[in-house]
């Protein structure tokens, strides 16, 4: 029973990380209806930036904040330079660009930082009071960080006029322009936020899986599954989906298929959701009257 509980809680913790990356995917999907396949590699690259800053002597939380800021700028800059010119391109071209970005970030990280596996520190000391026999302090901390990110984003979209404008621009760009919203700026902001959220996910997962250019490959798949399970157009759903996938992955991996086949859980989930409920568990079906 103890082992089961432990697996469950460990799943919750990795689920939190999938949830952050899923959230980043949703961010961009909502605004542009594209899945950013490079999201994981962007997060990995951001984590390397954090690692570099820590190596350079920055205290952890300073490096954390700086990395989030740099990743925001990086995401926004990508939108302006790479994605915006593709605005009217066919979907397949956009997909190819995303895959290209994925490969570039991957190779760039390998070239700049090397392929050797690196330790990445956790800000949560291993003997902190909130750790226990069932969950390590890092697992507890990672969940907490995820929840803070979700809470901040939720408040941003719910209560600020820029957040409202971003939702509006994603839904109806033409009408948004007519009320004075600069839609291009909203898209840039969306990409920046996605970059920043992904970076948080990367920094939270790195102490667990260790830092190397391959770090996010599996995570992206799980996050994608999480986003689909919850509803790719629904931030709250994506977060819940991320947690569900994390728990399922751990339990099914431990008790049913074994660790080697764990990744197939994500793939089965993706296919299952697409067949049974394409909008996801919490996907919003917009009601329209004509």
């Amino acid at each position: 029973m103890d082992a089961f509980l432990h697996q469950l809680l460990a799943g919750l913790s990795t689920g939190g990380i999938y949830a952050s990356v899923a959230l980043a995917l949703v961010m961009i999907y909502q605004a542009t209806h594209h899945i950013n396949f490079a999201q994981g590699e962007m997060a990995m690259f951001s984590t390397f930036i954090a690692w570099m800053l820590i190596q350079a002597g920055f205290p952890y939380w300073a490096a954390f904040g700086l990395t989030v800021a740099i990743s925001f700028v990086m995401g926004a800059a990508l939108e302006v330079t790479v994605i915006r010119p593709m605005r009217n391109a066919p979907v397949l071209s956009v997909v190819v660009v995303f895959i290209g970005m994925m490969v570039i970030f991957h190779s760039l990280a390998g070239w700049l930082f090397g392929y050797t596996i690196k330790q990445f520190p956790s800000p949560f000391s291993p003997d902190a009071w909130y750790g226990g026999s069932l969950m390590s302090p890092h697992e507890v901390g990672a969940i907490f960080v995820t929840l803070v990110v979700v809470g901040l984003l939720f408040s941003f979209f719910r209560f600020t006029s820029v957040g409202l404008a971003m939702r509006a621009a994603a839904q109806n760009p033409e009408s948004s322009r007519l009320v004075g919203i600069n839609v291009n700026r909203m898209l840039m902001l969306g990409w920046g936020l996605a970059g920043a959220i992904g970076a948080v996910g990367g920094m939270m997962v790195a102490p667990v899986v260790f830092l190397d250019p391959h770090m996010m490959m599996g995570v992206l798949l799980y996050a994608f599954a999480g986003a689909l399970v919850g509803g790719i157009d629904n931030p709250v759903g994506a977060v819940i989906g991320g947690f569900i996938v994390g728990i399922l992955e751990n339990l099914v991996g431990t008790y049913v298929v074994g660790t080697e086949l764990k990744l197939s859980v994500a793939l089965i989930l993706i296919i299952g959701v697409l067949i049974v409920r394409p909008a996801g568990l919490f996907g919003k079906v917009i009601v329209t009257r004509v």
Binding site: L164, Q171, S176, R177, L178, V179, G180, N182, V287
Partner: protein, 239 residues
């Protein structure tokens, strides 16, 4: 000082390679209601889009309140005091009624006045107040039309561009909306440029009117003059 709020000279507009407007001149007096009449495909909607530089490329001069508008971005024009109630109503379907209205005030910094304007819109359209927390996609066509007008009003515009507000609505609701528009014009001193296929309805509300055919203005004058014109009576008023 020019008394015309809107002055358009030699306006051409095109969607990509296909030209729709071929040199339109029109002017609109401060405080007036001007109707733009014409058949389907004559270029009425395109004229409104051209005024907001939306989806079309234009040539010619557009002056609003003494400032050139052509060449500016749609979102900047919205900020200059032109409220556009677009073709198809432009509802943000997934947002609530109240969020739709709040979006109309996007970019305004005077929070207190925005709250007052929200009450004002609700006083013109009490139905919207009842539906304020409802997803806008669930509103009826008439309610969405009211929402579109309300959203445009939230920017405190000097000029409202209305694109076929009667389209697809029951006659009673249309009457209702047109009488509210008359009140808005009188009480809020908002000038209106109204595009309509229903000439009778439009001429009732308007002070002056233009008739547009295949991208050109073929007739203009006071609402009474237009109503009295034989060709108009035959073709557009069905008499």
């Amino acid at each position: 000082m020019n008394e015309n709020l809107l002055e358009v000279k030699g306006l051409h507009a095109a969607y990509g390679p296909s030209a729709v407007l071929h040199g339109i001149d029109l002017s609109l007096k401060q405080g007036s209601v001007t109707a733009l009449l014409g058949a389907n495909g004559a270029g009425k909607t395109t004229t409104l889009r051209a005024l907001c530089q939306m989806m079309v490329t234009t040539r010619g001069e557009i002056t609003f309140a003494g400032q050139r508008v052509d060449g500016r971005s749609t979102e900047r024009i919205a900020g200059m005091g032109i409220g556009h109630v677009p073709d198809g109503r432009g509802t943000f379907l997934g947002l609530t009624t109240e969020e739709n209205l709040r979006l109309g005030a996007y970019g305004r910094k005077d929070k207190g006045a925005v709250a007052e304007d929200m009450d004002l819109v609700y006083s013109y359209f009490p139905r919207l107040k009842e539906r304020s927390a409802q997803q806008a996609g669930t509103l009826s066509g008439g309610e969405q039309q009211m929402l579109a007008i309300g959203r445009a009003l939230m920017s405190r515009p000097r000029l409202l561009l209305l694109d076929e507000p009667s389209f697809g609505l029951a006659p009673l609701i249309v009457q209702d909306i047109f009488s509210i528009m008359r009140r808005i014009n009188k009480e809020e001193k908002v000038s209106i440029l109204l595009v309509e296929q229903n000439a009778e309805l439009a001429l009732d509300l308007a002070d002056s009117a233009y008739l547009i055919e295949t991208g050109r203005i073929v007739l203009s004058g006071s609402a009474d003059e237009i109503r009295g014109n034989d060709a108009v009576r035959r073709v557009y008023l069905g008499e």
